[in-house]
Amino acid sequence: MSGASATPLATPGESKARSARTLRRTLFTATLLMVSYGLALPSLVLWRLQPAAQTLEDETTATTSAFSALREQNRVFQSVVSIARALDEQTGKISAAERQVLEDTVRHLRDAPRANYNDIGAPMRPAFADLIGLTDDFVAMLDEGVRAHKLGEDSTFHDRMERALNTGPRISAALEEAQLQGLADLLARQQRVREANQTLLFWTAGWLALGAFVVWYLAYLARQRLIQPLELLERGLTQLSAGDLEARIPESQDELGRLASVFNRASDVLRRRAEEQGRFAAAGQLLADVAHEVNNPLMAILGTAEASLASDDMKLESRADLELIRDQAFRAGQLLSGLLRFVRVGDEPAQIVDLSAVVARAIDLVAYQFPLHSIECVTQFAPDAKPVRAAATRLEQVMVNLLTNAVQAMATISGRRQIEVRVFQHEGWSCVAVCDIGPGVSSAIRERLFQPFSTTKGDRGTGLGLYICRRIAREAGGDLQYTDARPGARFLLTLPSCEPAIPTPVLHSREITINNIGQLAGLNILVVDDENGVRTAIARYLRRSGAIVREASHGRDALIQVAAERPDVVLLDLRMPVMDGYAFMAEVQKSQPWLAPRVLVLSGDLAAGHSDNPPVPPARMMAKPVVLQDLVRRLKEVADANAARTR
């Protein structure tokens, strides 16, 4: 467990005070704001400027047309006035041709294009109406004059001409007024466009200011709702990856807040698991220590029993008892070795292993539970099952896990309890099936059975077992699957088969023969072990094998004895007082290197070595308890190898 102190990044009160709005809603609102903002300005332009521009465009055309009509009307009017005045002032008789000129000009004036009331600006209409009314009167008067002249009524003609000409100045004034009104109308419209333009500028400036505020607010919002939570999350993850399992980040009710909540829960789970693993590691260490301490008496028992059995003058009844003692001690030693191996799984390289042997070792490890729960374990090892390439101890871990699960499942039912373990070959796959007849796995759990922290055991389970098992299987190129056994559960471990690199060792019961007398004849063997019982039993057996045996209780004692007389082989324990086996080997390596290859290590806990200790080749290591006959053979091998080197 990490020793780092907890670093709360926000108080729970702050978390609760956070807005209940979701991030999605915030993003939606921000998008809506931006779209509204983007659309508003064009809309504003359309709303403020377009009507003014449209009015200007529509009515300017009409006004231009009206001005054109006015110009034409004025031109014709002036012409008519000139002709009418000339005829009126003419002293002589007016000819029909002259009258026709006037008549045509009057018609021209009457038919001249006029302004369209629908289109021109409202202010211009009264002036135009006046003009038209006066023009109509003018034309009617001239028309009457022409008609009077046709009827030969010259006095009436002149009367109408004069009356018409008297209307002239009013028409001129009306024309001028119409033009002035037209100009005023244009100026008014220009003013309107100018005002609209100014208003638009005002609104645009205001809008841009509002835009700046919106941008600032969005940035603030993004910082509050996105960047800050992400930074906190990043900081929390950094703390977590640095080993601070108490890192927590503030929770809110949006998506990132929920993510923070998940992070906090994961952090809690990891912390609990770390605490559990710490306890497991401590238990493993304790187990290793105990195993070492137990191995020594076991070795003493085993050695004494074997030494006694090597004696020819033993009664048959006593021999049988000693053999029982020897076998049980050996079995206890094997069990302890397995436990030590299990708790010290390291970065073991993959190698070709016999799957059946691994399964058998795993069964050995958990077999003590079978009688406790009245479980019958049925095994079936197919002879054609091929080896696999994997880390043996990790495979053993998988099998122990599966078997433990099966045992726990069996414990929940009454009646017959049976576990079946079957090793078989299926095409290119080496398979192990572990079946029980327990309650099986519920459908609710089944889908996440192999996910981390998924457990059916409540607080008793870590929820990591099957997840790790499947991961180990998949790292080895295989898989671990679950199927309903109806009743019970069936786990199938499949691994890709490979051809054996070495002949597959055949499991056999250990037959100990005592036919090693004289095998070590003449060999000078130094036995270094602090356990007096172990040392004495081994020395006694070796002497029976013909060796000259000296004894030392620790490394320093051994160095003295080496200095006094060179041994052919040193049988060395590792854990000893005064000077342990590692220090002894270091000293030998340094001062008497010739002796180094002659050291055979025999220890209760070979895996407990430290990285800074000198390495011991596996060929010269043996684990307690050991069958003494094997020990003799190994001693002989070491001695022979060094004898050959000396030669």
Partner: protein, 371 residues
């Protein structure tokens, strides 16, 4: 200088305007709908009694007020614009009946259009009224339709030499133009188009027209009634065989024409109202007319104004002081709502002009429809 109503407002002004509009809206609810009458003549006297009866009738949701524009302000009104500007600012205004004649109605139409106020034009006949604004509803047939009707009658009566007396404005020109188009392609020709004003020397004009070679066999009077009566009298004195056709404007001189006509067939008038005493609306109209101080005989334009006010009354009583509602109400006539049954007949606005023009001729007691 005339200042256009400008939409340029500051935000605070906008808020103030909204608040004022809200206040005004609540006040307007209290005020009730108002109808503006921009006809400007003594004919308005026909309306107050009728309005009181309408508001007193059972089932009226909103009491409707009339805003009568005083005739004595008419002379000062340049083209009716002052009236229009005054009416659109009247609180509760939902519609206007007027203005009198096409020219004034056309001038005022943009002002009402800008404010979304309905304008029912009872007497204007210009074709432009149908397009000047979506909220301007001309009541009677256009000058084009009337001109074609007159041309068709001339051809039916086999008159080939036609002289037109034309009031020189949109009305006169519109009917004259339509008539000429109606005669196009026939053997009938228009000898002269004589412009006239109230100050014209009609004797001179008639003498001139009848001295034309060839002489006309029909006159078409597209001018106001009293002038038309003078022209007809002078013409029939010189040529009692002349067929004289009068456009709808001559109706004010219809009585004189009826009396002056040498023969019933020689006087034919266009009108929008053929009296029908079985019409319930007409009975009410005649009663109101008799009770009013107008005097004389009721004319088609009285009936048109009466119907226009009646329709707006019905719309405003139903929709209150909502110009939008009143517009929709009028648009719905003949569509989702039955046509309005008025003095002039069945009225709706599914077409451009709801009331068609018809021709009548004098009888011993009045006028009869020309079949």
């Amino acid at each position: 200088m005339y200042r256009y109503p400008t939409p340029a407002v500051r935000p605070c002004q906008l808020i103030l305007a909204v608040a004022m509009a809200a206040g005004l809206a609540s006040c307007a609810d209290d005020i009730g709908p108002v109808i503006g009458i921009a006809m400007g003549g003594i004919d308005q006297a026909l309306l107050p009694a009728r309005q009181k009866r309408f508001n007193d009738s059972v089932g009226i949701r909103h009491t409707v007020q009339l805003r009568l524009m005083l005739p004595n302000t008419y002379a000062e009104d340049n083209g009716g614009l002052a009236w229009a500007n005054e009416l659109v600012t009247t609180p509760g205004i939902v519609g206007v009946v007027g203005h009198e004649g096409s020219r004034l109605a056309l001038q005022a139409a943009p002002i009402y259009r800008q404010r979304g106020i309905v304008q029912i034009v009872p007497t204007g006949t210009s074709s432009q009224l149908a397009t000047v604004s979506p909220w301007t509803f001309p009541l009677v047939a256009s000058d084009t339709m009337q001109g074609q009707l007159l041309a068709r009658h001339l051809l039916d009566r086999k008159r080939t030499r036609i002289t037109l007396f034309v009031q020189d404005d949109e009305y006169g020109r519109g009917i004259a133009g339509a008539l000429e188009r109606g005669l196009a392609g026939s053997n009938a020709v228009v000898l002269e188009k004589v412009s006239n004003t109230p100050d014209s020397d009609f004797d001179l004009l008639v003498r001139s027209v009848l001295s034309h070679v060839p002489a006309p066999d029909a006159l078409v009077l597209i001018t106001q009634g009293p002038l038309a009566a003078s022209i007809a009298e002078l013409s029939w004195k010189r040529d009692p065989t002349l067929l004289i056709l009068g456009a709808d404007a001559t109706s004010t001189g219809a009585s004189a024409l009826r009396l002056l006509a040498p023969a019933p067939d020689l006087a034919v008038l266009a009108t929008y109202w053929v009296p029908d005493t079985t019409n319930v609306a007409e009975q009410a109209f005649l009663r109101d007319f008799r009770e009013s101080e107008i005097g004389g005989e009721p004319q088609w334009y009285h009936a048109a104004m009466y119907d226009a006010v009646g329709m707006l009354n019905a719309a405003a009583a139903s929709e209150g002081n909502s110009p939008t509602g009143v517009r929709a109400w009028l648009r719905s006539l003949g569509r989702t709502r039955p046509s309005y049954q008025g003095v002039l007949g069945s009225i709706d606005f599914t077409g451009a002009h709801p009331i068609p023009a018809r021709l009548v001729r004098p009888t011993a007691t009045g006028w009869e429809l020309v079949k």
